[in-house]
């Protein structure tokens, strides 16, 4: 009994540390964004909404934010089917060349982003895709796709194969059993994956830098370019906008389906 109490204590301590560790830089940045000064400091020497005022006035910022949301949507819309199907194929079937396939599908993580950026710029340039916003979404999908695949694959564990077999034995044709048995079972993984894809897409700057120009610049690229010459607290203010977006999204999700969906499938 003492053993399990000690274990609970250790786990509790680590989790408490994690919570602090996760929150600290965010909190610091959030608080620092209210500085009246011209530089990010903590604690801020006073309270001011100056940098938020700057953001509101900056037309560039609103345009770039809108483009980033588009990028996030394109990326998520593409990765949902592509990632889910790939994960199911990899997890449910014994495939030839599976290891080779895994390595290929992990290229987005093993190729450094600088190289991906230059490579995609050359490919998209050839295809005549540069100059629009949607290809940036495609790129964000390509470079983060393993997240979607792995998130779904990890939750395939939920999927009791007997259930699928039972469905098949009852005469349920493939599409039916896919939509009524398979998908609901892996829904937590799909949702987790989709959220990760969206978040990463609206934060992507290194590859986007190569694929955007002044007319299609996304918010992270705008911020990245701005801080190359001078670091002002609007960088922090931008983050607060993202956090507000995040809170809204999480609240909405909780109201609509409940946050537990990330952990438990609604099946069974």
């Amino acid at each position: 009994m003492t053993g399990s109490r000690k274990a609970a204590w250790i786990i509790g301590a680590i989790v408490a540390f994690d919570l602090l560790f996760l929150a600290l830089p965010t909190l610091v940045v959030l608080v620092a964004s209210f500085t009246p000064g011209t530089i990010i400091t903590f604690p801020p020497p006073g309270f001011s909404l100056r940098w938020y005022g700057n953001l509101l006035q900056a037309r560039d910022f609103a345009d770039a934010l809108w483009r980033s949301l588009q990028v996030g949507l394109v990326c998520t819309a593409l990765s949902l089917p592509a990632g889910t199907l790939a994960a199911l194929a990899l997890a449910r079937f014994r495939l030839r060349f599976a290891t080779g396939l895994q390595i290929y599908l992990l290229l987005p993580f093993t190729i450094p982003l600088v190289v991906s950026g230059v490579g995609l710029m050359l490919v998209f340039g050839r295809l005549g895709w540069l100059g629009a916003v949607w290809p940036v979404g495609v790129a964000a999908c390509v470079i983060n796709l393993p997240f979607m695949i792995w998130a779904v694959a990890a939750s395939v564990n939920h999927l009791d194969p007997d259930l699928e077999n039972a469905a098949a034995n009852c005469g349920a044709p493939p599409v039916h059993s896919f939509f009524t048995v398979t998908l609901p079972a892996v829904a937590p993984g799909i949702l987790t994956g989709a959220l990760i894809m969206f978040i990463l897409a609206i934060n992507e700057f290194l590859v986007s830098l190569m694929l955007t120009d002044a007319r299609t610049v996304t918010l992270p690229v705008l911020v990245y370019n701005a801080i190359r010459s001078i670091i002002t607290p609007d960088l922090a203010a931008v983050s607060v906008v993202y956090v507000i977006l995040a809170v809204a999204a999480i609240w909405l999700l909780d109201r609509l389906v409940g946050l537990d969906i990330f952990l438990k499938s609604k099946q069974g």
Binding site: F93, L95, V114, A154, S155, N157, P161, P174, D260, L263
Partner: protein
Amino acid sequence: MASTIHDKGAGRPVGLRLLDLLEAARELLWPARMAPLTPWLFLLPAVLLTGLLAAGLIPLLDASLRPLDRATFRLAEDYALGNYATLATRPVYGVIALRTLMAGLIVTAATLALAFPYAWMMVRTQHAWLRKLLLVSLFLPFFIGQVVRAYGWLIILGKQGLLNALLDGLGLPPSSLAFTYTAVLIGLVQYMLPFAVLMLAPALTAVPVEVELASASLGARPFATFRHILLPMARPGIVAAGIVVFTLTLTDFAMPEIMGGGGNDFIASAVYDAFFQLGDAGLGAALGIGLTLVGSAVVGVILAFFGLGTLGYVEGREERS
């Protein structure tokens, strides 16, 4: 919530009728005899999307085989191995590669150690509020990109930062963590933590709580339960999280750039420098391709070692293929 298979006939809900329609379309486009190829059809979109990246590697592979001509700032017409020779002969690349690989190992180990209890508590807790707190704490920092979080860390770790203010208050000597290797590692672990938790959680959910309880009631100590029950059963999630954290650390650019103070470059920094600072696409491509090969090799070894169990594939079950 499990949907049941209704009898065909009148009064079927709209949803099911839609499915019938899809089923008919499938029958037309992908008849039953194609079933063995279904997994490959499922893989096609992901393979094509990744193909865009692979296609981008082709001109870069070509570039890596052409040294830069500084009279015209174009890559040479003829193939040569000069760029790869540069990699092999300049000791600085060895130093940077070693530093990057070390970071990959340390960050992966530290992240998994921190993420596992977090994921476990998130999955196992009986308190809805705690689970919600853990989930929200995971997602909120997630929305803030790497660059901004790095600046947050600099405020904390800087010479006149929060940490030193705290140490000073406690009467301890100041630390100077900012712009060190340690700072880069701290930043990376914090960045990777949510990814790892989100990969681990589904795997842990799949371990029935009854198994853990049974193990405990049979007198197994918590560590033994962890080692013999949780660890093997959650292996797919652990390996997935490990691969993700390791490969992302290996190729990371932003953290060493911002938190390293310039003296703690990773391989991606060298790739960046070659492409942008030196304007030598051939050298940059050679470095990038080298890094990709190393990363892929490590992934290959892990996959070979742990087998296909890593992806939730249920061993011994021959599916419809």
